[in-house]
Symmetry: C2
Subunit: 337 residues, 2 copies
């Protein structure tokens, strides 16, 4: 399988490391021999149809700040030229999320599909802005489209519902889908500390970003709930359809009172037909959604299985490469590999 990596930040580099580390495992266990024939970032591109040396790519790109520093690499805005011009089977779209326009990921994905390339993405932007369009474009172009890493990081939320629970009708999806806010709420609970104090410490530790707005105001969770609603409930929802509240106003006293009643407070995204919502909610201690730290968790309410929950790490380049590789193996199998 010839791969193009578009975006070479944390996730692109994490995927590259996983491809190096797991080369013999992928061949032995899945008959899969991935070959990265191009890598592109915002400053340039490295192309080699025989396959880039990923160890060297990681080294030179790490030092120079761009893949263009790779032997024979070129500088410039080259993403579209590479996506359309380089012969490849799969395009990994791993650029940063823009939830307003979906760009540049949206255009990357469309051009890749038009060029009859399968697409795997971690990018929430295009999925929030144009899920329906991309889903039907993939079908029209006869290509596979996978986005496991866009929701839940390492936790295979979409695949669990689509593949393994396929006999069920999904009545409701509830999820702790943002590690930063879960970390903050967990520490507020354990230390009885106010939101502002814990947020500042989380920023110092790198768990929260300098501008944490998207996380703490619930927007990131709302994006993920939108993606789940569209891909699993057959909805045609946009971000504006989600009623959103963040965690700024959650006070340690409220968490303490909840605990005394055998509950805790989590930022929960909820999707059911006709209603999308994100906000702080009471969760019984001992329920699978009452996970601590930076963990993510999703509970499906189903007509046959009743309730199935899945938990794991929702972020981190190594963890997320589990989903990025899982999507590749799934495409390989779907194509009869």
């Amino acid at each position: 399988m010839r791969l193009v990596l578009v975006g070479f930040g944390n996730l692109g580099r994490g995927l590259s490391r996983a491809l190096i580390q797991k080369a013999s495992f992928l061949r032995r266990s899945h008959g899969l021999i991935p070959r990265v024939v191009a890598a592109v970032d915002e400053f340039g591109a490295a192309v080699d149809e025989k396959g880039l040396n990923l160890t060297r790519l990681l080294k030179v790109a790490g030092k120079a700040g761009t893949v263009a520093a790779y032997k024979g690499g070129k500088r410039g805005k080259l993403a579209l030229r590479v996506i359309e011009g380089v012969e490849a089977d799969v395009v990994y779209e791993l650029t940063p999320t823009n939830i307003k326009t979906g760009e540049p990921g949206l255009t990357h994905i469309k051009r890749a599909m038009w060029a009859r390339k399968h697409v795997i993405t971690s990018n929430k932007g295009p999925l929030v802005v144009a899920f329906g369009e991309l889903d039907s474009l993939a079908r029209r172009c006869g290509v596979e489209f996978r986005y496991s890493a866009s929701v839940g990081g390492a936790v295979p939320v979409v695949g669990l519902a689509k593949e393994l629970l396929a006999g069920n009708e999904i009545r409701e999806i509830r999820g702790v889908l943002n590690g930063t806010t879960n970390y903050i709420l967990t520490r507020m609970s354990r230390e009885d500390a106010p939101f502002e104090v814990v947020l500042r410490e989380a920023q110092e530790l790198g768990v929260a970003e300098k501008d944490p707005t998207l996380d703490i105001e619930g927007i990131d969770t709302a994006c993920k709930i939108t993606i789940l609603a569209n891909s699993l409930l057959g909805m045609n929802a946009r971000l504006k359809d989600v009623k959103v509240a963040g965690i700024k106003r959650v006070r340690p006293e409220a968490i303490r009172l909840a605990r005394e009643a055998g509950q805790t407070i989590k930022l929960i995204g909820i999707a059911k037909r006709g209603s999308l919502e994100v906000g702080p909610k009471l969760v019984p201690l001992g329920h699978p959604l009452a996970v601590g730290g930076t963990l993510n968790a999703v509970t499906f309410e189903l007509d046959l299985a009743r309730e199935i929950s899945i938990t794991g790490f929702g972020a981190g380049p190594k963890e997320t490469s589990s989903s990025l590789l899982g999507d590749l193996i799934d495409i390989h199998r779907t194509l009869g590999g």
Copy 2:
């Protein structure tokens, strides 16, 4: 898809109800039109190549105690004749588990494979006794072999690891895999009550069987750990390879002490290469394995995703039909449906 149901106890009836209830869903969502062309139990068989009327089958079999009472049904030991003689695509092997011989399920499954029929089973017996043989027989005969319902009931443990976490190497599997013992330990913990008292009440409620040996001595969990080790870790283990301890000797004081240290006691099955074990273990409160009631839960330790856990109902005919139908949909997809 033409189906044969072998065994018409709780699971066979639960599956039949699900097939009735979900007929239009399966057609609409998966293009799948299941038709039960035969049902067999230990007293006889009902066969109709145009498809049995499942509502009527449930009614007459419920009243007479055998599917032979269906119009045109025959009495006698007919399983093998039906499995081999009736034209069908998939055989559901749903007879009771015998962990010593695997029979009658083992012979049913082999004959079905030899007759080039795909097999879906919930029966732990054949899997514990002859996993390797059945796995390679399926490949030799060119048929699909699925056994999701044998471990975890409604919880798709095997599929999660095989399909969605396929990019990972599994370092360890830990699971709460027996609802009865989990119910007993949960109540012992909540009520500070001794094992014998809670067991008796569980028997009165029907949560524990009259002879609860297989559950409380950890044998049922050991069967499931054996199946997971063979199917997911590539081992060739037998039940005797599992070091087993049950929950009889767990005392409420021990659970209380554990709780004071932020832990609880669960009956945990553990599989890693070279070591299979079942016994009461400490689990931190808040960990996904610290589930209560009759829930099942499994945690995978993985090289990329680190830790992924899944939780749900491990038994019940309706819940388990989620896995039995999921396997059917998966075979349908694999065959290009």
